[in-house]
Protein backbone atom coordinates (compact mmCIF):
# COMPACT_ATOMS: atom_id res chain seq x y z
CA UNK A 1 0.00 0.00 0.00
CA UNK A 2 1.40 3.38 -0.95
CA UNK A 3 1.35 6.36 1.32
CA UNK A 4 -1.39 7.98 -0.79
CA UNK A 5 -3.62 4.95 -0.45
CA UNK A 6 -3.28 5.08 3.29
CA UNK A 7 -4.04 8.78 3.40
CA UNK A 8 -7.14 8.22 1.29
CA UNK A 9 -8.23 5.43 3.62
CA UNK A 10 -7.84 7.68 6.61
CA UNK A 11 -9.82 10.40 4.85
CA UNK A 12 -12.67 8.02 4.08
CA UNK A 13 -12.72 6.86 7.67
CA UNK A 14 -12.71 10.44 8.89
CA UNK A 15 -15.61 11.35 6.63
CA UNK A 16 -17.58 8.32 7.76
CA UNK A 17 -17.01 9.29 11.38
CA UNK A 18 -18.26 12.81 10.66
CA UNK A 19 -21.41 11.55 8.96
CA UNK A 20 -22.12 9.24 11.88
CA UNK A 21 -21.63 12.18 14.23
CA UNK A 22 -24.17 14.25 12.30
CA UNK A 23 -26.66 11.38 12.36
CA UNK A 24 -26.12 11.08 16.09
CA UNK A 25 -26.95 14.75 16.64
CA UNK A 26 -30.02 14.62 14.43
CA UNK A 27 -31.30 11.60 16.37
CA UNK A 28 -30.65 13.25 19.74
CA UNK A 29 -32.41 16.39 18.60
CA UNK A 30 -35.38 14.43 17.27
CA UNK A 31 -35.74 12.41 20.48
CA UNK A 32 -35.43 15.56 22.55
CA UNK A 33 -38.24 17.19 20.57
CA UNK A 34 -40.39 14.11 21.11
CA UNK A 35 -39.92 14.14 24.86
CA UNK A 36 -40.31 17.90 25.23
CA UNK A 37 -43.48 17.98 23.16
CA UNK A 38 -46.00 17.42 26.00
CA UNK A 39 -44.33 20.14 28.06
CA UNK A 40 -44.33 22.45 25.07
CA UNK A 41 -48.01 21.73 24.51
CA UNK A 42 -48.85 22.73 28.08
CA UNK A 43 -46.69 25.82 27.70
CA UNK A 44 -48.49 27.11 24.61
CA UNK A 45 -51.80 25.92 26.06
CA UNK A 46 -51.38 28.44 28.85
CA UNK A 47 -51.68 31.21 26.24
CA UNK A 48 -54.56 29.78 24.23
CA UNK A 49 -58.14 30.93 24.51
CA UNK A 50 -60.98 28.44 24.88
CA UNK A 51 -61.80 28.69 21.19
CA UNK A 52 -58.25 27.99 20.21
CA UNK A 53 -58.33 24.69 22.07
CA UNK A 54 -61.36 23.59 20.08
CA UNK A 55 -59.80 24.51 16.79
CA UNK A 56 -59.05 22.14 13.96
CA UNK A 57 -56.30 21.75 12.93
CA UNK A 58 -54.75 22.26 16.40
CA UNK A 59 -52.65 25.41 16.78
CA UNK A 60 -48.99 24.57 17.22
CA UNK A 61 -48.01 28.04 18.45
CA UNK A 62 -49.88 30.65 20.41
CA UNK A 63 -51.54 33.51 18.58
CA UNK A 64 -51.14 35.98 21.40
CA UNK A 65 -49.11 36.21 24.56
CA UNK A 66 -51.36 37.42 27.33
CA UNK A 67 -51.58 36.37 30.92
CA UNK A 68 -55.38 36.13 31.14
CA UNK A 69 -55.32 32.38 31.73
CA UNK A 70 -52.84 32.81 34.56
CA UNK A 71 -54.92 35.56 36.12
CA UNK A 72 -58.14 33.57 35.98
CA UNK A 73 -56.46 30.36 37.16
CA UNK A 74 -54.95 32.10 40.15
CA UNK A 75 -57.81 34.35 41.18
CA UNK A 76 -61.02 32.72 39.88
CA UNK A 77 -60.23 29.03 40.14
CA UNK A 78 -58.45 28.82 43.48
CA UNK A 79 -54.95 28.64 42.04
CA UNK A 80 -53.56 31.17 44.50
CA UNK A 81 -54.94 29.23 47.45
CA UNK A 82 -53.46 26.05 45.98
CA UNK A 83 -50.10 27.72 45.53
CA UNK A 84 -49.99 29.04 49.09
CA UNK A 85 -51.20 25.77 50.63
CA UNK A 86 -48.70 23.75 48.61
CA UNK A 87 -45.92 26.07 49.78
CA UNK A 88 -46.99 25.79 53.42
CA UNK A 89 -47.33 22.01 53.42
CA UNK A 90 -44.18 21.33 51.42
CA UNK A 91 -42.01 23.73 53.47
CA UNK A 92 -43.16 22.49 56.87
CA UNK A 93 -42.86 18.87 55.84
CA UNK A 94 -39.36 19.44 54.47
CA UNK A 95 -38.18 21.08 57.68
CA UNK A 96 -39.51 18.25 59.85
CA UNK A 97 -38.29 15.48 57.57
CA UNK A 98 -34.76 16.86 57.25
CA UNK A 99 -34.61 17.62 60.96
CA UNK A 100 -35.47 14.03 61.84
CA UNK A 101 -33.73 12.39 58.89
CA UNK A 102 -30.25 13.87 59.37
CA UNK A 103 -29.84 12.35 62.83
CA UNK A 104 -31.39 9.01 61.96
CA UNK A 105 -29.23 8.82 58.83
CA UNK A 106 -26.06 9.61 60.77
CA UNK A 107 -26.84 7.01 63.38
CA UNK A 108 -27.54 4.38 60.72
CA UNK A 109 -24.69 5.36 58.41
CA UNK A 110 -21.90 5.74 60.96
CA UNK A 111 -22.84 3.50 63.83
CA UNK A 112 -24.83 0.98 61.77
CA UNK A 113 -27.61 1.52 64.28
CA UNK A 114 -30.37 -1.05 63.84
CA UNK A 115 -28.22 -2.99 61.42
CA UNK A 116 -29.70 -4.58 58.34
CA UNK A 117 -33.17 -4.92 59.84
CA UNK A 118 -33.59 -1.16 60.27
CA UNK A 119 -32.23 -0.59 56.76
CA UNK A 120 -34.72 -3.11 55.45
CA UNK A 121 -37.57 -1.44 57.34
CA UNK A 122 -36.68 1.97 55.90
CA UNK A 123 -36.33 0.56 52.38
CA UNK A 124 -39.67 -1.24 52.55
CA UNK A 125 -41.38 1.98 53.58
CA UNK A 126 -39.67 3.74 50.71
CA UNK A 127 -40.90 1.16 48.22
CA UNK A 128 -44.43 0.60 49.51
CA UNK A 129 -47.26 2.10 47.44
CA UNK A 130 -48.65 5.02 49.48
CA UNK A 131 -52.22 3.95 48.69
CA UNK A 132 -51.98 1.06 51.13
CA UNK A 133 -51.66 3.49 54.02
CA UNK A 134 -54.68 5.57 53.09
CA UNK A 135 -57.45 3.57 54.78
CA UNK A 136 -55.89 3.23 58.24
CA UNK A 137 -54.54 6.78 58.21
CA UNK A 138 -57.90 8.13 57.09
CA UNK A 139 -59.71 6.36 59.94
CA UNK A 140 -57.13 7.45 62.50
CA UNK A 141 -57.08 11.08 61.33
CA UNK A 142 -60.86 11.09 61.25
CA UNK A 143 -61.03 9.97 64.87
CA UNK A 144 -58.50 12.63 65.81
CA UNK A 145 -60.62 15.20 63.92
CA UNK A 146 -57.61 16.15 61.86
CA UNK A 147 -59.00 15.77 58.34
CA UNK A 148 -58.82 18.81 56.09
CA UNK A 149 -56.04 20.55 58.04
CA UNK A 150 -52.45 21.46 57.25
CA UNK A 151 -51.20 19.10 59.97
CA UNK A 152 -52.72 16.06 58.32
CA UNK A 153 -50.65 16.53 55.16
CA UNK A 154 -47.50 17.71 56.90
CA UNK A 155 -47.59 14.62 59.13
CA UNK A 156 -48.70 12.02 56.61
CA UNK A 157 -46.02 13.03 54.08
CA UNK A 158 -43.43 12.06 56.69
CA UNK A 159 -44.42 8.48 55.91
CA UNK A 160 -42.70 8.40 52.53
CA UNK A 161 -40.38 11.40 52.75
CA UNK A 162 -38.57 10.45 55.96
CA UNK A 163 -37.49 7.02 54.66
CA UNK A 164 -36.35 8.69 51.44
CA UNK A 165 -34.38 11.46 53.17
CA UNK A 166 -32.85 9.05 55.67
CA UNK A 167 -31.72 6.64 52.97
CA UNK A 168 -30.19 9.33 50.76
CA UNK A 169 -28.51 11.32 53.54
CA UNK A 170 -27.14 8.08 54.99
CA UNK A 171 -25.32 7.63 51.68
CA UNK A 172 -23.84 11.12 51.91
CA UNK A 173 -22.54 10.43 55.41
CA UNK A 174 -21.02 7.16 54.26
CA UNK A 175 -19.07 9.08 51.61
CA UNK A 176 -17.27 11.09 54.29
CA UNK A 177 -14.10 9.45 55.59
CA UNK A 178 -14.30 8.14 59.13
CA UNK A 179 -10.92 9.69 59.95
CA UNK A 180 -12.59 13.07 60.30
CA UNK A 181 -14.60 12.02 63.34
CA UNK A 182 -11.68 10.07 64.75
CA UNK A 183 -9.47 13.15 64.58
CA UNK A 184 -12.13 15.28 66.26
CA UNK A 185 -12.66 12.68 68.98
CA UNK A 186 -8.93 12.57 69.65
CA UNK A 187 -8.96 16.35 69.95
CA UNK A 188 -11.37 15.88 72.81
CA UNK A 189 -14.64 16.71 71.12
CA UNK A 190 -17.73 14.81 72.21
CA UNK A 191 -19.34 12.47 69.70
CA UNK A 192 -22.10 14.94 69.07
CA UNK A 193 -19.77 17.90 68.60
CA UNK A 194 -17.58 15.85 66.26
CA UNK A 195 -20.68 15.21 64.17
CA UNK A 196 -22.04 18.73 64.44
CA UNK A 197 -18.85 20.67 63.81
CA UNK A 198 -16.94 18.43 61.42
CA UNK A 199 -19.18 15.95 59.61
CA UNK A 200 -22.40 17.90 59.17
CA UNK A 201 -20.82 20.83 57.28
CA UNK A 202 -19.24 18.38 54.83
CA UNK A 203 -22.57 16.66 54.21
CA UNK A 204 -24.49 19.94 53.91
CA UNK A 205 -24.60 20.18 50.10
CA UNK A 206 -26.03 16.67 49.90
CA UNK A 207 -28.53 17.41 52.64
CA UNK A 208 -29.62 20.61 50.89
CA UNK A 209 -30.29 18.73 47.65
CA UNK A 210 -32.18 16.05 49.57
CA UNK A 211 -34.29 18.82 51.10
CA UNK A 212 -35.13 20.09 47.62
CA UNK A 213 -36.18 16.57 46.64
CA UNK A 214 -38.40 16.21 49.69
CA UNK A 215 -39.91 19.60 48.93
CA UNK A 216 -40.73 18.54 45.36
CA UNK A 217 -42.22 15.21 46.48
CA UNK A 218 -44.52 17.05 48.89
CA UNK A 219 -45.26 19.67 46.28
CA UNK A 220 -46.24 17.05 43.70
CA UNK A 221 -48.13 14.73 46.04
CA UNK A 222 -51.71 14.07 45.06
CA UNK A 223 -53.19 10.91 46.60
CA UNK A 224 -53.02 11.81 50.30
CA UNK A 225 -54.11 15.37 49.57
CA UNK A 226 -57.08 14.06 47.59
CA UNK A 227 -58.21 11.82 50.45
CA UNK A 228 -57.25 13.73 53.60
CA UNK A 229 -58.21 17.27 52.63
CA UNK A 230 -61.22 18.90 51.02
CA UNK A 231 -61.63 22.67 51.05
CA UNK A 232 -60.00 24.25 54.10
CA UNK A 233 -56.69 23.02 52.72
CA UNK A 234 -56.20 22.47 49.02
CA UNK A 235 -52.80 21.91 47.45
CA UNK A 236 -52.10 22.57 43.78
CA UNK A 237 -52.48 19.00 42.46
CA UNK A 238 -55.93 18.78 44.03
CA UNK A 239 -56.88 22.16 42.61
CA UNK A 240 -55.74 20.96 39.18
CA UNK A 241 -57.64 17.69 39.45
CA UNK A 242 -60.73 19.65 40.45
CA UNK A 243 -60.45 21.71 37.27
CA UNK A 244 -60.44 18.52 35.17
CA UNK A 245 -63.41 17.03 36.99
CA UNK A 246 -66.09 19.42 35.78
CA UNK A 247 -68.19 18.82 32.66
CA UNK A 248 -66.58 21.80 30.94
CA UNK A 249 -62.80 21.57 31.20
CA UNK A 250 -61.08 24.97 31.27
CA UNK A 251 -58.04 23.89 29.31
CA UNK A 252 -56.37 27.29 29.17
CA UNK A 253 -56.57 28.00 32.89
CA UNK A 254 -55.61 24.40 33.59
CA UNK A 255 -52.50 24.71 31.41
CA UNK A 256 -51.53 27.98 33.06
CA UNK A 257 -51.82 26.55 36.56
CA UNK A 258 -50.01 23.37 35.45
CA UNK A 259 -47.16 25.49 34.23
CA UNK A 260 -46.88 27.08 37.66
CA UNK A 261 -47.09 23.67 39.35
CA UNK A 262 -44.28 22.09 37.34
CA UNK A 263 -41.85 25.00 37.64
CA UNK A 264 -40.08 23.88 40.85
CA UNK A 265 -39.51 20.38 39.47
CA UNK A 266 -38.12 21.73 36.22
CA UNK A 267 -35.78 24.09 38.06
CA UNK A 268 -34.50 21.18 40.11
CA UNK A 269 -33.90 19.16 36.94
CA UNK A 270 -32.05 22.03 35.29
CA UNK A 271 -29.82 23.06 38.16
CA UNK A 272 -29.24 19.91 40.17
CA UNK A 273 -29.09 17.24 37.50
CA UNK A 274 -25.89 15.87 38.99
CA UNK A 275 -27.78 14.75 42.08
CA UNK A 276 -31.03 13.84 40.40
CA UNK A 277 -30.11 10.35 39.27
CA UNK A 278 -28.65 9.66 42.68
CA UNK A 279 -31.90 10.74 44.31
CA UNK A 280 -34.19 8.93 41.92
CA UNK A 281 -32.27 5.67 42.20
CA UNK A 282 -32.41 6.03 45.99
CA UNK A 283 -28.67 6.55 46.14
CA UNK A 284 -27.78 3.35 44.26
CA UNK A 285 -26.00 5.35 41.57
CA UNK A 286 -23.67 8.12 42.63
CA UNK A 287 -23.74 10.39 39.62
Amino acid sequence: MTKEDMLRQIKIKERRRKILEVIRFILIFFILMLFMFPVYWTFIGAFKSMGEFYHYPPLFWPKQVDLNNFKRALFDYGGLKGLIDSLIVASLNTIIVIGLGVFLAYSMGRYRFGGDSLSFFVLSLLFAPPVIATIPLFLIFKNLRMLDTYQVLVLSYILFNLPFATWIIKGFFEDIPREIENAALLDGYSRFMAFWKYVLPLALPGIAVTALFVFIFSWNEFLFALIFTRSAVQTLPVTLAGMIGGHMIKWGELSALSLIAITPGILLALFFQRYLIRGLTFGAIKG
Binding site: P136, I158, I277
Partner: protein, 303 residues
Protein backbone atom coordinates in the same frame (compact mmCIF):
# COMPACT_ATOMS: atom_id res chain seq x y z
CA UNK B 1 -9.28 -4.24 82.19
CA UNK B 2 -8.73 -3.34 78.57
CA UNK B 3 -11.66 -5.43 77.50
CA UNK B 4 -13.86 -3.69 80.01
CA UNK B 5 -12.86 -0.31 78.70
CA UNK B 6 -13.58 -1.29 75.12
CA UNK B 7 -16.99 -2.61 76.02
CA UNK B 8 -17.81 0.61 77.82
CA UNK B 9 -16.83 2.52 74.70
CA UNK B 10 -19.13 0.22 72.69
CA UNK B 11 -21.94 0.90 75.15
CA UNK B 12 -21.29 4.60 74.98
CA UNK B 13 -21.33 4.44 71.21
CA UNK B 14 -24.59 2.54 71.13
CA UNK B 15 -26.21 4.95 73.53
CA UNK B 16 -25.18 7.88 71.38
CA UNK B 17 -26.39 6.19 68.17
CA UNK B 18 -29.72 5.32 69.77
CA UNK B 19 -30.25 8.88 71.00
CA UNK B 20 -29.53 10.26 67.54
CA UNK B 21 -31.90 7.81 65.88
CA UNK B 22 -34.67 8.16 68.42
CA UNK B 23 -36.75 11.11 67.12
CA UNK B 24 -36.89 9.88 63.55
CA UNK B 25 -37.49 6.33 64.60
CA UNK B 26 -40.34 7.28 66.90
CA UNK B 27 -41.97 9.29 64.10
CA UNK B 28 -41.74 6.34 61.71
CA UNK B 29 -42.99 3.80 64.18
CA UNK B 30 -45.95 5.94 65.24
CA UNK B 31 -46.85 6.61 61.62
CA UNK B 32 -46.33 3.04 60.47
CA UNK B 33 -46.86 0.56 63.26
CA UNK B 34 -50.18 1.99 64.43
CA UNK B 35 -51.78 2.17 60.99
CA UNK B 36 -50.24 -1.16 59.99
CA UNK B 37 -51.68 -2.98 62.98
CA UNK B 38 -54.98 -1.22 62.42
CA UNK B 39 -54.96 -2.31 58.78
CA UNK B 40 -54.18 -5.97 59.42
CA UNK B 41 -56.87 -5.93 62.11
CA UNK B 42 -59.40 -4.33 59.76
CA UNK B 43 -58.68 -6.84 57.04
CA UNK B 44 -60.38 -9.44 59.21
CA UNK B 45 -63.62 -7.44 59.48
CA UNK B 46 -66.54 -6.59 57.29
CA UNK B 47 -66.76 -2.86 57.67
CA UNK B 48 -68.03 0.07 55.64
CA UNK B 49 -67.00 3.70 55.76
CA UNK B 50 -70.43 4.79 54.60
CA UNK B 51 -73.09 2.70 56.32
CA UNK B 52 -73.52 2.81 60.09
CA UNK B 53 -73.42 -0.98 60.31
CA UNK B 54 -71.24 -2.22 63.16
CA UNK B 55 -68.18 -4.08 61.84
CA UNK B 56 -68.25 -7.82 62.25
CA UNK B 57 -65.33 -10.21 62.19
CA UNK B 58 -65.10 -12.38 59.10
CA UNK B 59 -61.66 -14.00 59.42
CA UNK B 60 -59.98 -14.54 56.08
CA UNK B 61 -63.14 -13.94 54.07
CA UNK B 62 -61.92 -10.57 52.73
CA UNK B 63 -58.81 -12.22 51.33
CA UNK B 64 -60.73 -15.13 49.83
CA UNK B 65 -63.30 -12.82 48.25
CA UNK B 66 -60.50 -10.72 46.85
CA UNK B 67 -58.72 -13.66 45.28
CA UNK B 68 -62.01 -14.78 43.77
CA UNK B 69 -62.98 -11.37 42.38
CA UNK B 70 -62.47 -10.64 38.70
CA UNK B 71 -61.90 -7.00 39.42
CA UNK B 72 -58.85 -7.72 41.58
CA UNK B 73 -57.32 -9.95 38.90
CA UNK B 74 -58.13 -7.33 36.29
CA UNK B 75 -56.19 -4.71 38.25
CA UNK B 76 -53.40 -7.22 38.84
CA UNK B 77 -53.27 -8.08 35.15
CA UNK B 78 -53.18 -4.41 34.09
CA UNK B 79 -50.33 -3.70 36.47
CA UNK B 80 -48.47 -6.73 35.11
CA UNK B 81 -49.11 -5.68 31.50
CA UNK B 82 -47.69 -2.23 32.20
CA UNK B 83 -44.62 -3.89 33.72
CA UNK B 84 -44.35 -6.63 31.11
CA UNK B 85 -44.51 -4.30 28.13
CA UNK B 86 -43.36 -1.03 29.63
CA UNK B 87 -40.13 -2.20 31.23
CA UNK B 88 -38.67 -4.01 28.16
CA UNK B 89 -39.69 -1.19 25.81
CA UNK B 90 -38.28 1.47 28.12
CA UNK B 91 -35.09 -0.51 28.65
CA UNK B 92 -34.56 -0.94 24.92
CA UNK B 93 -35.27 2.70 24.06
CA UNK B 94 -33.32 3.82 27.10
CA UNK B 95 -30.28 1.84 26.04
CA UNK B 96 -30.42 3.36 22.56
CA UNK B 97 -30.64 6.85 24.05
CA UNK B 98 -27.83 6.13 26.49
CA UNK B 99 -25.56 5.00 23.65
CA UNK B 100 -26.39 8.10 21.66
CA UNK B 101 -25.47 10.24 24.65
CA UNK B 102 -22.44 8.24 25.70
CA UNK B 103 -19.88 10.42 23.93
CA UNK B 104 -18.96 13.84 25.32
CA UNK B 105 -20.16 16.81 23.30
CA UNK B 106 -20.96 20.44 23.77
CA UNK B 107 -24.33 21.07 25.40
CA UNK B 108 -24.63 17.54 26.75
CA UNK B 109 -25.33 18.76 30.27
CA UNK B 110 -28.27 20.84 29.08
CA UNK B 111 -29.70 17.95 27.08
CA UNK B 112 -29.39 15.60 30.04
CA UNK B 113 -31.14 18.17 32.23
CA UNK B 114 -33.98 18.52 29.72
CA UNK B 115 -34.40 14.75 29.62
CA UNK B 116 -34.90 14.78 33.38
CA UNK B 117 -37.94 17.03 33.14
CA UNK B 118 -40.53 14.26 32.50
CA UNK B 119 -39.72 12.49 35.79
CA UNK B 120 -39.76 15.70 37.80
CA UNK B 121 -43.07 16.99 36.49
CA UNK B 122 -46.06 16.89 38.83
CA UNK B 123 -47.65 13.51 37.94
CA UNK B 124 -51.13 15.03 37.91
CA UNK B 125 -49.91 17.42 35.23
CA UNK B 126 -48.46 14.64 33.09
CA UNK B 127 -51.83 12.92 33.19
CA UNK B 128 -53.54 16.07 32.12
CA UNK B 129 -50.99 16.85 29.39
CA UNK B 130 -51.60 13.50 27.78
CA UNK B 131 -55.35 13.92 28.14
CA UNK B 132 -55.09 16.87 25.75
CA UNK B 133 -52.63 15.13 23.46
CA UNK B 134 -54.83 12.03 23.15
CA UNK B 135 -57.99 14.10 22.61
CA UNK B 136 -59.83 12.34 19.80
CA UNK B 137 -60.88 15.39 17.81
CA UNK B 138 -58.71 18.30 18.88
CA UNK B 139 -55.57 16.57 20.12
CA UNK B 140 -52.26 17.03 18.33
CA UNK B 141 -51.50 13.30 18.20
CA UNK B 142 -54.40 12.34 15.94
CA UNK B 143 -53.75 15.43 13.85
CA UNK B 144 -50.12 14.45 13.29
CA UNK B 145 -51.13 10.86 12.53
CA UNK B 146 -53.63 12.16 9.97
CA UNK B 147 -50.98 14.43 8.52
CA UNK B 148 -48.71 11.42 8.07
CA UNK B 149 -51.48 9.56 6.29
CA UNK B 150 -52.79 7.38 9.11
CA UNK B 151 -56.30 7.15 10.50
CA UNK B 152 -56.82 10.50 12.26
CA UNK B 153 -59.78 9.36 14.38
CA UNK B 154 -58.24 6.97 16.87
CA UNK B 155 -60.35 6.88 20.08
CA UNK B 156 -57.27 6.69 22.34
CA UNK B 157 -59.03 6.99 25.65
CA UNK B 158 -62.47 5.63 24.74
CA UNK B 159 -61.55 2.11 23.65
CA UNK B 160 -60.36 -0.26 26.43
CA UNK B 161 -57.33 -1.77 24.67
CA UNK B 162 -56.22 1.61 23.35
CA UNK B 163 -56.67 3.22 26.76
CA UNK B 164 -54.19 0.79 28.28
CA UNK B 165 -51.83 1.50 25.37
CA UNK B 166 -52.24 5.22 26.11
CA UNK B 167 -51.20 4.65 29.72
CA UNK B 168 -48.17 2.74 28.46
CA UNK B 169 -47.25 5.56 26.09
CA UNK B 170 -47.53 8.10 28.89
CA UNK B 171 -45.46 5.94 31.24
CA UNK B 172 -42.85 5.39 28.53
CA UNK B 173 -42.62 9.13 27.95
CA UNK B 174 -42.19 9.76 31.64
CA UNK B 175 -39.65 7.05 32.46
CA UNK B 176 -37.57 6.25 29.36
CA UNK B 177 -35.25 9.25 29.87
CA UNK B 178 -34.73 8.18 33.47
CA UNK B 179 -33.85 4.65 32.36
CA UNK B 180 -31.55 6.11 29.70
CA UNK B 181 -29.68 8.31 32.17
CA UNK B 182 -29.22 5.50 34.67
CA UNK B 183 -27.85 3.28 31.90
CA UNK B 184 -25.67 6.17 30.77
CA UNK B 185 -24.17 6.30 34.26
CA UNK B 186 -23.50 2.58 33.91
CA UNK B 187 -21.92 2.99 30.48
CA UNK B 188 -19.58 5.71 31.63
CA UNK B 189 -18.45 3.58 34.58
CA UNK B 190 -17.03 0.95 32.21
CA UNK B 191 -13.27 1.60 32.07
CA UNK B 192 -11.92 2.70 28.71
CA UNK B 193 -9.17 0.07 28.89
CA UNK B 194 -11.73 -2.70 28.55
CA UNK B 195 -12.74 -1.38 25.13
CA UNK B 196 -9.15 -0.77 24.11
CA UNK B 197 -8.24 -4.34 25.00
CA UNK B 198 -11.18 -5.65 22.96
CA UNK B 199 -10.12 -3.47 20.04
CA UNK B 200 -6.58 -4.76 20.16
CA UNK B 201 -7.95 -8.29 20.11
CA UNK B 202 -9.72 -7.38 16.88
CA UNK B 203 -13.30 -7.65 18.10
CA UNK B 204 -15.98 -6.06 15.89
CA UNK B 205 -18.20 -3.35 17.41
CA UNK B 206 -21.09 -5.83 17.42
CA UNK B 207 -19.01 -8.34 19.35
CA UNK B 208 -17.84 -5.65 21.76
CA UNK B 209 -21.45 -4.65 22.42
CA UNK B 210 -22.64 -8.18 23.19
CA UNK B 211 -19.53 -9.58 24.83
CA UNK B 212 -18.25 -6.55 26.74
CA UNK B 213 -20.83 -3.78 27.17
CA UNK B 214 -23.91 -5.88 27.90
CA UNK B 215 -22.38 -8.19 30.53
CA UNK B 216 -20.84 -5.20 32.32
CA UNK B 217 -24.17 -3.36 32.23
CA UNK B 218 -26.06 -6.26 33.78
CA UNK B 219 -26.04 -4.99 37.38
CA UNK B 220 -27.32 -1.60 36.23
CA UNK B 221 -30.09 -3.27 34.23
CA UNK B 222 -31.09 -5.25 37.31
CA UNK B 223 -31.26 -2.02 39.27
CA UNK B 224 -33.38 -0.27 36.63
CA UNK B 225 -35.81 -3.18 36.39
CA UNK B 226 -36.21 -3.39 40.16
CA UNK B 227 -36.78 0.36 40.45
CA UNK B 228 -39.28 0.36 37.60
CA UNK B 229 -41.21 -2.54 39.19
CA UNK B 230 -41.39 -0.56 42.42
CA UNK B 231 -42.53 2.63 40.66
CA UNK B 232 -45.15 0.84 38.55
CA UNK B 233 -46.58 -0.75 41.68
CA UNK B 234 -47.11 2.76 43.02
CA UNK B 235 -48.50 4.30 39.84
CA UNK B 236 -51.65 6.25 40.67
CA UNK B 237 -51.81 9.98 39.87
CA UNK B 238 -51.32 9.98 36.08
CA UNK B 239 -53.62 6.99 35.56
CA UNK B 240 -56.29 8.48 37.80
CA UNK B 241 -56.18 11.73 35.84
CA UNK B 242 -55.78 10.30 32.32
CA UNK B 243 -58.39 7.52 32.36
CA UNK B 244 -59.64 7.23 35.93
CA UNK B 245 -59.20 3.48 35.45
CA UNK B 246 -61.68 3.47 32.58
CA UNK B 247 -63.34 3.02 30.23
CA UNK B 248 -65.09 0.63 32.59
CA UNK B 249 -62.29 -0.95 34.59
CA UNK B 250 -60.02 -1.52 31.61
CA UNK B 251 -57.08 0.54 32.88
CA UNK B 252 -57.48 0.03 36.60
CA UNK B 253 -54.11 -0.65 38.24
CA UNK B 254 -53.67 -2.09 41.73
CA UNK B 255 -53.23 1.35 43.30
CA UNK B 256 -56.23 2.81 41.49
CA UNK B 257 -58.39 -0.19 42.42
CA UNK B 258 -57.31 0.08 46.04
CA UNK B 259 -58.29 3.74 46.07
CA UNK B 260 -61.75 3.07 44.59
CA UNK B 261 -62.30 0.13 46.87
CA UNK B 262 -61.66 2.32 49.90
CA UNK B 263 -62.99 5.71 48.97
CA UNK B 264 -65.66 5.02 46.38
CA UNK B 265 -67.10 1.70 47.56
CA UNK B 266 -66.14 2.42 51.19
CA UNK B 267 -65.26 -1.22 51.74
CA UNK B 268 -62.74 -1.00 54.56
CA UNK B 269 -62.20 -4.73 55.02
CA UNK B 270 -61.51 -5.47 51.38
CA UNK B 271 -59.25 -2.43 51.00
CA UNK B 272 -57.26 -3.46 54.04
CA UNK B 273 -56.88 -6.97 52.62
CA UNK B 274 -55.76 -5.47 49.30
CA UNK B 275 -53.23 -3.32 51.13
CA UNK B 276 -51.83 -6.27 53.10
CA UNK B 277 -51.40 -8.28 49.88
CA UNK B 278 -49.52 -5.42 48.21
CA UNK B 279 -47.40 -4.97 51.29
CA UNK B 280 -46.37 -8.62 51.14
CA UNK B 281 -45.40 -8.30 47.46
CA UNK B 282 -43.41 -5.12 48.03
CA UNK B 283 -41.61 -6.64 51.02
CA UNK B 284 -40.40 -9.45 48.77
CA UNK B 285 -39.19 -6.91 46.22
CA UNK B 286 -37.44 -4.88 48.93
CA UNK B 287 -35.71 -8.08 50.04
CA UNK B 288 -34.45 -8.66 46.49
CA UNK B 289 -33.30 -5.06 46.30
CA UNK B 290 -31.42 -5.31 49.61
CA UNK B 291 -29.63 -8.41 48.41
CA UNK B 292 -28.75 -6.67 45.16
CA UNK B 293 -27.37 -3.57 46.90
CA UNK B 294 -25.35 -5.69 49.31
CA UNK B 295 -23.81 -7.71 46.50
CA UNK B 296 -22.88 -4.54 44.65
CA UNK B 297 -21.26 -3.09 47.73
CA UNK B 298 -19.18 -6.26 48.13
CA UNK B 299 -18.17 -6.08 44.47
CA UNK B 300 -17.11 -2.46 44.84
CA UNK B 301 -15.07 -3.29 47.92
CA UNK B 302 -13.37 -6.18 46.15
CA UNK B 303 -12.41 -4.17 43.08
Amino acid sequence: MKKKKRSSIRKNELKFAALMALPGLVALIVLVAGPLAYMVYNSAFSKSLAAPIPPRPVGFKNYIDLLKSDRFWNAFKNTMVIMGIGIPVQSFLGLLMAMLLSREFKGKRLIVALFLIPVMITPVVSGFQWKIIFHERFGPLNYILGFLGFNPNIPWLAKPSLALASILIMDTWQWTPFVALVLLAGLSSIPRQVYEAANVDGASSWQIFWRVTMPLLRPIFTLVVLLRIIFIFKIFDPVYILTGGGPGISTETLSVYTYYSGFKHFNVGRTAALAVLQLVIITIIAQLYMRFVMRRREEVQRS
